[in-house]
Symmetry: C2
């Protein structure tokens, strides 16, 4: 008896996709309910029925970013050399950040006033966390639940996060060469130090 639904999961996916396109092409300022709805061929009311509010839409973008990044990290198959496997993972993160800088900012900065990720939202990064832990454990030859492993993983993730934050802000270096040299030496220093600390204890 009713008219057929159009505000389905498929439309939700479509709205999310259009939101990310608008985000990458025009920045956070371009992601408005009216524009997103228009791009997806629907109305603002559909956005609010499917996402609750603007924060819900941005939260979905946030989750989608972590899913895409996790997919790329897992696709980076380990080559057997634990050192290179760790570096390759962070290099993949960097490629992702440079390819989708706005999406990366939603994940690690906070370009939308409406949405501040809480502790629960970072559960979206669980798959990435697992992958990092796995490779760091292999790097240090320690157990995946060992404190030293978890601490080392946090140190490396923080270093990567800081380096990418600096690079995306344009303050890590002027030339591509200096940027990559600083990245490489920072990671090398940290990784060698972490290994030495494990061996020494």
């Amino acid at each position: 008896m009713p008219r057929p639904r159009t505000r389905t999961g498929a439309l939700k996916d479509r709205l999310l996709s259009e939101s990310i396109s608008l985000l990458e092409s025009g920045g956070a300022v371009a992601v408005t309910a009216r524009r997103v709805a228009s791009e997806a061929g629907t109305s603002t009311a559909a956005v609010y029925e499917l996402f609750g509010d603007k924060a819900g839409l941005v939260r979905s973008i946030f989750y989608e970013g972590f899913e895409r990044l996790a997919a790329e990290l897992v696709a980076e198959a380990p080559c057997g050399d634990p050192y290179r496997d760790v570096v390759a993972m962070f290099d993949a993160t960097r490629r992702f950040a440079l390819r989708f800088p706005m999406l990366f900012e939603v994940m690690f900065a906070r370009p939308f006033i409406e949405f501040e990720p809480g502790p629960k939202d970072f559960d979206a990064a669980a798959q990435i966390y697992t992958e990092v832990i796995r490779r760091v454990a292999a790097l240090l030859d320690t157990g995946e639940t060992d404190e030293v492993t978890v601490d080392a993983a946090h140190a490396l993730v923080a270093l990567d996060r800081g380096l990418l934050g600096s690079e995306l802000s344009g303050v890590l270096g002027r030339s591509a060469a200096s940027i990559e040299r600083r990245r490489a030496t920072a990671f090398e220093t940290m990784i060698v130090g972490l290994r030495a600390k494990v061996v020494g204890s």
Copy 2:
């Protein structure tokens, strides 16, 4: 013949001060032209005459943040032990970030859509840069313009930035003990590694 001016530098300072108060108490969403003007006892037009636009106001907040941080870092007088002097500087940064988390976010995240800092805006951090370079050069016993010094400074700043980003997001650890342990081990690992790299070459 005209009426006396009230839109002076003093009012600009007052508006900036009220903006930061609103920012810290109510987040970025609380910093509106109307509210800032009202708190300072003036009108929105004064905000626009003194700051140009909203981005100009946020830019002033951004600058003020770097000035306050620089003042706190310089006040942290070196004790003679280069290692402890470097750690003390980053500890001071952390105290600042925990005391003014919103201001810190304006400096290193991007909570306002209106203002994205460009390379030129980071000139505001020149004084901090100088202080970091000075202490890192002392740490490594290298020249302040040496590539190794500058690279090491970037690595440490990035590590600090990443650690604080993680901590402020609530993902660095659950207990204060684990957070501080991870900070300490990360910095120790990096600093020891940087020193070893200099000595070894």
